[in-house]
Amino acid sequence: MKFSDEFEARFTEMLTHYPTRRSALVPTLLYAQDEVGNLSDEVIAELAQRLDLTELEVRNVISYYSMLTTKPRGKYNVQVCTNIACMLRGGEELLGHCKKKLGIGHKGTTPDGLFSLEEVECIGACSWAPAAQVNYDFHENLTSAKMDQILDEYKKKGTQ
C-alpha cells in the first residue's frame, strides 16, 4: 500500500519516539485516514502488519476513537459542536441550519461527496461559541449567515 512521502517520513520518525511500535498507532491512523479518506480494510491490514498487531486489535482501537472512521466521508467534514457552551449560543440551530442547507443528517454525506456533516462534542472553542470545524479548520462565533458563507467557500474550493 502506498502512502505519501510525507506520511512515510513522519511514520518512520514516529517509530523512533517510543519503546514499542504500537505506540505510534493512534496518530498514524489519523494521518492515514487524512490521506486515504477513511480507514479501509487495506489500510488496516497495512498498518497492522507494520506495527506487529492483528487487524482485530487495529479495529478495536479505530472503533474507540470518534475521529476515526472505516467508512468514506465527504471531502469536507463539517463538524458542528452542540455541547453546552455552544448550545447556549445557538449551536443546535446552527446544526439544523447545516442539515437543511446540505440536505443531509448527522453523519450523512452529500451525493456529490463534497460534504459530510457531524454533530460533535466540545471542540475547545467554548469561549467563541457557537463553533464548528471543517476538517481541521476552526470556525467560531458562528451565525447561520456566516456558516452559509463558509460552506460556499468550501464548495467553490472543492469544485475548482
Binding site: Q49, T54, E55, L56, E57, R59, N60, S63, Y64
Partner: protein, 757 residues
C-alpha cells in the same frame, strides 16, 4: 475464609478488570467503596463485605444490567446456569426502573460452534481474556465504546480461531452459546456424568450432559464446569464438541456377518458362534501363531489387558500389536532403576521450567499446551522449545531453537555435550552463540519437565533420559496420540511385551498368572500383514482399530484370512471383515484410561446406543463361544475363593492369590464376567505401577503412575511408530464421524488463512 464476594468480571487466573463493580466492599478509612478484586489485603485492613451500602451498590449494578438485558431466561441456554440470574436472586432487582425499550440485536453465528447474542452480553471481558491470555489466540476483541461497546470476532463477522469454546464456557450469561448444544435442552433436564475425553492423549476430564433418547442416551453437552481433574476448566474443540460421533447415523447397531460376499445383519448369538467356531478351528488346526490380534488406543486399560490375556492364553498367540504412536517401552527401559522420573499433567502446570522437544502440543496435545501457557503466564515458568517447525508455543518460549526436520535427536546429543553437529544447527535465526546460551540455560534448570514427541524413539530416548539424569530433578513425558495409547502400551499390546512391559521371553510371572502362554515372540502389525499375504495368518481379530485406513495396509493381503472387527463404524478395516461387531465407545462404558503422562483416571458410562456392546463384553463372549473357561479369563464370582486358584493357574495347594489380594484390599469378588472392575482388580495386583488407591480412582481423581519399568531393554523397531498427525480438528476415525469437527474444519478451509502473527 469462606466469604463469598460476588463478581462478573473476576475470573481466577485471568487478568483483573475491575469492570463489573459487583465486588465492591467497604474498607475502613476509605471514603469510597473499593473493588475487592483489585484491592491487595494489607495488615490491619478492616473490610465489610456485606452492609446496606454494599448491598445497595450491588443491587444498583444488577438493575443497571437488567435495564438492557433481555429477560428471555425461559429460552436462554444459560437459564439455570446464569450468573446474572443468580445475582438477581441474591440482590433482588426484580422491579424495572426503566421504561425505555431495550436495545435489540439479532443473534450472530460466528462459527459452526459459537453463537453470539449481543443484548445478553454484560461485557465482563472474560471471553476476550480467556481467548487471548488463556489460549493465546486473541480472536476476540472489544469494539466501539460506551454503551455501544461490543465483543467482536477477529474476522469482522466470524471467527478464525481454535474453536475451543472456552469463551462459551466462561461466559457468565447466555451471550455466547454453543452451536452443538443451543436450544437442545436445559441443564436440569440432563444427567451429568464426569468422565474422560476420548480424543487425544492428554486425558481431560469432562462432564457430559446426557439425555434419554429413542436409542438409549444421547450426549448433548461436554464441559468441565466443576473444574475438577487435571484440566481445571479447559477443554479443546474435540473435548467440548466432538462427542457427536456417538450418534452419527452410520453408527453400527447390529452385528454383520459376511454371507455370499456381503456383510449382512445377524444376531449376536449367530455372530459369536461363528467367531468362536472359526477361531477355535484355526487355533487347533494351524496353531495360535496363525492368529493375529490388533488392539486399540481408545479402549480401556481393562479391555486392553483382557485382550492381551485372551490372545495369549486363549488364542495362544503372541501376535499382538496396536497402532503405536510413541515409544513408551523405550522410555520404560531407559528409566529402569530411575524411579520418580516421569512427570504428570499437573507437574506441567507447576514446573519452574519445561523443555519441549518435537511435537506441536497446540494441535496434538491441547491440554499440555494450555498447561504450559498457564504456567508461563501465571508462574513465569521458563519454556524451551526445540522443534523442526515454528510451532505456536514458541511465543511463550524463553528459548526457541529451530532444527532441521529429523534433527531433534541430534539436538539432544548437543544438549548432552556433543558439539559435532552444532554447525548444522546454526542458522540465521539461531546463531552459534544462541545455541550455546540455550544449552547453558537448559542445563541450569532444576525440576524441569521434559516433554518429547515421537520424533525421539528407541536409543534416542535413552540418550535423552541420560541427559535428563544429569540435571537436577528433571522429569519426562513421552507424547503419544489417542486417549489410551499409553494404556495400550502398558497393558501389553505388543508381540514381545506383556502388561507392565514384561518381556514375553522371560514371562515367569504371567506364565503363572495366565496359566500358560506361548513362549516365542509374536508378529508385529506389518509382519502380520506379511504373514497374511503369505497365507500364514489364518485369522485376524481387530478390536477398535483401523490399520487399513490409518496405517495404509493393503486390504487385499487379508483376503484369505478370517477377519473379525469390533468397531463403531464400517471402517476400511471393518469393510473387509467376515464378522463385524458393533462396539460401544469410551463414552458408553466404564473402565480406566492412562494418559500419555501416566495419569490414571476413571472412564464412566454416560451415553448409550442400544444394541452395541463394550469391547470387554465381546471379548468375554468370544472366549466363551470358543469353549474356554471364562472365569479363568476374568476373575469373577465366589469361585475365586472356592477353587483355590486352580483356574487361574495357582500352583496346586497354594491359596488363590487373587482372593487373598482382594481381601487384603477390602474388595469383594465381582459378580459378573462382564464387570471390567474384575480385571482392574487383576491389573492392580499384577501390573507394576498400577497398584493405585481405589477410593481415589472411584472419586474421579487422577493418580500419577510410575512407568512400569521391567528392566528389559526392549528396543522396538523405530519404523513401527507412526504418529497420527491429528490436529485440533481431526481425531482419527472418531473425527471423521464427528459432524461438528467436520463443519468446523470445512469452515476453516473456506476462509483464506490470514498471515498469522
Amino acid at each position: 475464609m469462606g466469604i463469598e464476594v460476588p463478581s462478573f468480571c473476576y475470573y481466577p487466573g485471568l487478568s483483573l478488570q475491575g469492570a463489573c463493580r459487583m465486588c465492591v466492599v467497604k474498607i475502613e478509612k476509605m471514603p469510597k467503596l473499593q473493588t475487592a478484586c483489585t484491592t491487595t489485603v494489607t495488615e490491619g485492613m478492616i473490610v465489610a463485605t456485606d452492609s446496606d451500602e454494599v448491598r445497595q451498590a450491588r443491587k444498583a449494578m444488577v438493575e443497571l444490567l437488567l435495564g438492557n438485558h433481555p429477560l428471555d431466561c425461559p429460552v436462554c441456554d444459560a437459564g439455570g446456569e446464569c450468573e446474572l440470574q443468580d445475582m438477581t436472586f441474591s440482590y433482588g432487582a426484580a422491579e424495572s426502573k426503566y421504561m425505555e425499550a431495550k436495545n435489540h440485536k439479532e443473534e450472530q453465528q460466528w462459527s459452526p460452534v459459537v453463537y453470539f447474542d449481543r443484548p445478553r452480553c454484560i461485557l465482563c471481558y472474560r471471553c476476550v481474556r480467556v481467548c487471548g491470555e488463556g489460549m493465546d489466540v486473541w480472536a476476540l476483541g472489544v469494539q466501539n465504546r460506551g454503551v455501544s461497546s461490543i465483543i467482536a470476532p477477529n474476522e469482522s463477522d466470524h471467527l478464525d480461531c481454535e474453536e475451543c469454546g472456552m469463551c462459551i464456557d466462561i461466559c457468565p450469561v447466555g451471550a455466547l452459546t454453543s452451536g452443538a448444544y443451543r436450544y437442545k435442552t436445559r441443564p436440569w433436564e440432563m444427567n451429568h456424568v464426569g468422565t474422560i475425553c476420548t480424543h487425544c492423549g492428554d486425558g481431560c476430564k469432562t462432564t457430559l450432559g446426557v439425555r434419554r433418547c429413542d436409542t438409549g442416551a444421547e450426549i448433548v453437552r461436554g464441559d468441565n464446569r466443576d473444574k475438577s481433574g487435571i484440566n481445571n476448566d479447559f477443554l479443546c474443540v474435540k473435548g467440548r464438541y466432538a462427542f457427536d460421533f456417538a450418534h452419527h447415523k452410520e453408527r453400527l447397531t447390529e452385528p454383520l456377518v459376511r454371507k455370499n460376499g456381503k456383510l449382512t445383519p445377524a444376531t449376536w448369538e449367530e455372530a459369536f458362534e461363528l467367531i468362536g467356531k472359526r477361531l477355535r478351528e484355526v487355533r487347533d488346526q494351524d496353531g495360535g501363531s496363525a492368529i493375529g490380534v490388533i488392539g486399540s488406543n481408545r479402549t480401556t486399560n481393562e479391555e486392553n489387558y483382557l485382550l492381551s490375556k485372551f490372545a495369549r492364553s486363549v488364542l495362544k498367540t503372541n501376535n499382538v500389536d496396536h497402532h503405536r504412536t510413541a515409544d513408551y517401552p523405550a522410555l520404560a527401559a531407559a528409566l529402569h532403576g530411575k524411579p520418580g522420573k516421569t512427570a504428570s499433567m499437573r507437574d506441567v502446570l507447576n514446573a519452574p521450567a519445561i523443555l519441549l522437544i518435537g511435537n506441536d502440543p497446540t494441535n496434538q496435545h491441547p491440554l499440555l499446551a494450555w498447561q504450559i501457557r498457564t504456567n508461563v503466564r501465571l508462574r513465569r515458568a521458563k519454556l524451551y522449545v526445540i522443534n523442526a517447525a515454528p510451532i505456536k508455543l514458541r511465543r511463550q518460549a524463553a528459548g526457541f531453537a529451530l532444527v532441521p526436520a529429523g534433527a531433534e535427536t541430534k539436538a539432544v546429543a548437543f544438549l548432552a555435550g556433543d558439539d559435532s553437529m552444532l554447525d548444522q544447527f546454526v542458522s540465521e535465526t539461531v546463531t552459534r552463540e544462541a545455541w550455546l546460551a540455550l544449552r547453558e540455560k537448559i542445563r541450569g534448570e532444576q525440576n524441569m519437565v521434559i516433554a518429547f514427541g515421537s520424533e525421539l524413539r528407541g536409543h534416542d530416548i535413552e540418550a535423552l533420559v541420560n541427559f535428563a539424569s544429569s540435571l537436577t530433578g528433571a522429569k519426562l513425558i513421552s507424547l503419544g496420540d489417542y486417549a489410551n495409547s499409553r494404556g495400550a502400551s502398558e497393558m501389553g499390546l505388543y508381540p514381545d511385551l506383556l502388561p507392565g512391559y514384561e518381556p514375553v521371553a522371560s514371562a515367569d510371572k504371567f506364565q503363572k498368572e495366565w496359566d500358560s502362554l506361548p513362549a516365542e515372540t509374536g508378529l508385529s502389525l506389518p509382519q502380520m500383514a506379511e504373514a497374511a499375504k503369505a497365507g500364514k495368518l489364518k485369522a485376524l481379530y481387530v478390536v477398535g482399530s483401523n490399520p487399513i485406513g490409518r496405517l495404509g495396509i493393503d486390504p487385499f493381503v487379508f483376503s484369505k484370512s478370517f477377519v473379525v472387527v469390533q468397531d463403531m463404524f464400517l471402517t476400511e478395516t471393518a469393510n473387509i471383515a467376515d464378522v463385524v461387531l458393533p462396539a460401544a465407545n469410551a463414552y458408553e462404558k466404564t473402565g480406566t484410561y492412562t494418559n500419555t503422562c501416566g495419569d490414571l483416571q476413571l472412564v464412566k458410562k454416560a451415553g448409550e446406543v442400544s444394541n452395541t456392546k463394550p469391547d470387554f463384553e465381546m471379548i468375554v463372549r468370544i472366549a466363551d463361544a470358543m469353549g474356554s473357561d471364562v472365569s479363568g479369563l476374568v476373575p469373577f464370582g465366589s469361585g475365586t475363593h472356592s477353587d483355590m486358584g486352580q483356574t487361574r493357574g495357582a500352583q496346586s495347594g497354594e491359596a488363590d492369590r487373587h482372593a487373598v489380594w482382594l481381601e487384603a484390599h477390602n474388595l469383594e469378588p465381582k459378580m459378573t464376567p462382564f464387570d471390567p472392575m474384575a480385571i482392574l482388580d487383576e491389573i492392580q495386583r499384577v501390573v507394576s505401577g498400577y497398584d493405585v488407591s481405589r477410593v481415589n480412582l472411584l472419586a474421579g481423581n487422577d493418580q500419577h503412575l510410575e512407568i512400569a519399568e521391567s528392566g528389559a531393554s526392549s528396543i522396538q523397531p523405530p519404523e513401527l511408530i507412526v504418529p497420527a498427525h491429528d490436529d485440533l480438528f481431526s481425531s482419527g476415525t472418531l473425527g471423521r464421524y464427528s459432524k461438528t469437527l467436520n463443519s468446523v474444519f470445512e469452515n476453516k478451509t473456506a476462509v483464506p488463512e490470514v498471515a498469522a502473527d
